[in-house]
Amino acid sequence: MIFEVHIEVRHRAGVADPEGATIERSLPALGFDGVRDVHVGKSIRFTLEATDEASARSEVEDMCARFLSNPVIEDVEIHLREGAAA
């Protein structure tokens, strides 16, 4: 089965997000006033071939923990969807 995987890698709560803070500080000068709490993360998309949803999910979780993020400073959010065949 083919899955479409979307992973969002974010800073863990409590970890500084200098990029988000810098963007937030610069927005008012561009005329955008109502913006708060800017956070910048990474978004990773791919397709995955796996036997079933459970094994796809556990493989993605493993990938995130070992390679795509560092749990010391980052959290991940995983979205999985059975997709069209490649």
Binding site: A16, P18, V72
Partner: protein, 585 residues
Amino acid sequence: MTEPLHRSLGLTDDEATEIEKILGRPPVPLELAMYAVMWSEHCSYKSSKIHLKRLPTEAEWVLVGPGENAGVVDVGDGIAAAIRIESHNHPSAIEPYQGAATGVGGILRDIFTMGARPIAIMDPLRFGPLDDARSRWIAEGVVSGISGYGNSVGVPTVGGETVFDATYQGNPLVNVLCLGVLPQDRLVLAQATGAGNLAILLGSTTGRDGIGGASVLASAGFSDDEADADKRPSVQMGDPFEEKRLIEACLELLDAKLVVGIQDLGAAGLSGATSETASRGGMGMDVDVSAVPVREADMEPFEIMTSESQERMLAIVEPPDADRVLEICARWEVQATVIGKVTPPDADGVGWLRILDGFDGEELAKIPADSLHEDCPMYDRPRQAPADLGARRSDDPSSLAAPTDPGADLVGMLTDTTWVSSQYDHMLFLNTVEPPGGDAAVLRLKHPGTGEDTGRGLALTTDGNHRWCAVDPRAGTAQTVAEGMLNLAVVGARPLAVVNCLNFGNPEHPEVMWQLSESIDGMGEACSAFGIPVIGGNVSLYNESRGANIDPSPVIGMLGVIDRLDRRPPGVGLVEGGRLVLLGA
């Protein structure tokens, strides 16, 4: 919880007793947390200080020796050079990029705290073998972290070392050296003088990152949320852009003579910066913990006082100058907040550090300022030569089979470190005469005030050799100093000063203490013999790898001066038909 609070904070029973004696009463948890961070090995040097005292530290040209944020020497023409080396080994083992990046940030602050503009970084690095996947991940992350932070903050990385060895598997060494230059009259010390002067916190907001050991306080009933403690990241994110603005703002404040003293916020955060400035100035300080700009709502005073959030400085300012200070900071988009007031010592000469909830509010802690960094018990830990020392020394190369192809072996041992140095801006400031790849980095010496070229140069080298030191830490360290000398000599430089980073294992193991003590003596003997003062350094202990201590790994940084750049030796380019002459025995 069954364990007494002081123990979970990392303090021994004796240390807790000592604290109670100092205060004449049991400490409140906030006070205990402040002592715990300040009396940690990292901040107090409690296992190494008695040995470090044996190092030669004086010479005519030394303006500031060990003990301040950086050592400073006179390099002529009214110019002084500030230099310091630090380790960021443990953070880099768990988050290589940020660990190394924040290591760069920290050492830069030590330099511009002295009034110097940082002009060069060196990065002696030690990793596990590259065929180990985790070591590779660490090596790549560390190098990108140094590159990401150093390049962006705008300080060139002009040299370093890259060593791969099994002894560092799981415990890499990330040492970072920084050199700065300053007009001699801009030299400032980290002192709070003048009762009524203001302590202004500059730079980043304070967050829950890097609270480390003190986070046990949260589960000890300080916080309602039990799960809170493990939400606190122990690793900080570096923000080179914030640091760049801090550098510019601080140097402008110093040029305008608007600060009495200035101190960076290092490992012990506000606890360290407030108590150190106060006690160096022989004063006390009232700190309004509620005034500190925080990144998250509901931060507890102990979190604010022990947070290791990066890119912060504390400036001591006379009240009439405060407005101009805030103006300059605003221009550089650096947040600046009055958080403290310098107070006179009491009738007994004790300067008190008081932590308050609002200047007129509740008193949350009251500690003799100097007790935090002067009264920590010092240890003369047991020392004993390692049991296998005899075996190490009797390991005789002549018992090995002769290599069949020594040429190939030699070539196989060479590592092309341009993979590392090409990721570093090593040219900024138009100073780099000898880039990474030579025996020592050579920099033009320009006057930091006027930009005028002196025609002279500074030379920098870092050296270490854990194999020598594993066999004989005393001779090995002395040899390392000699290697530094030679590296400077071949670029035509006179050595002026040594800084060192002592990367060792667990000091509670007698053989590690023996190695440390021997190594310090070897460095001291060599430096005395060569007439080079040791003007600063750093001790990193508890470097353990897979249950074993790393080989003793002192790293020496040496600064030299070249009197005429146009007449320095030509370097190692071989010329056809030339003769090779071996000098020395």
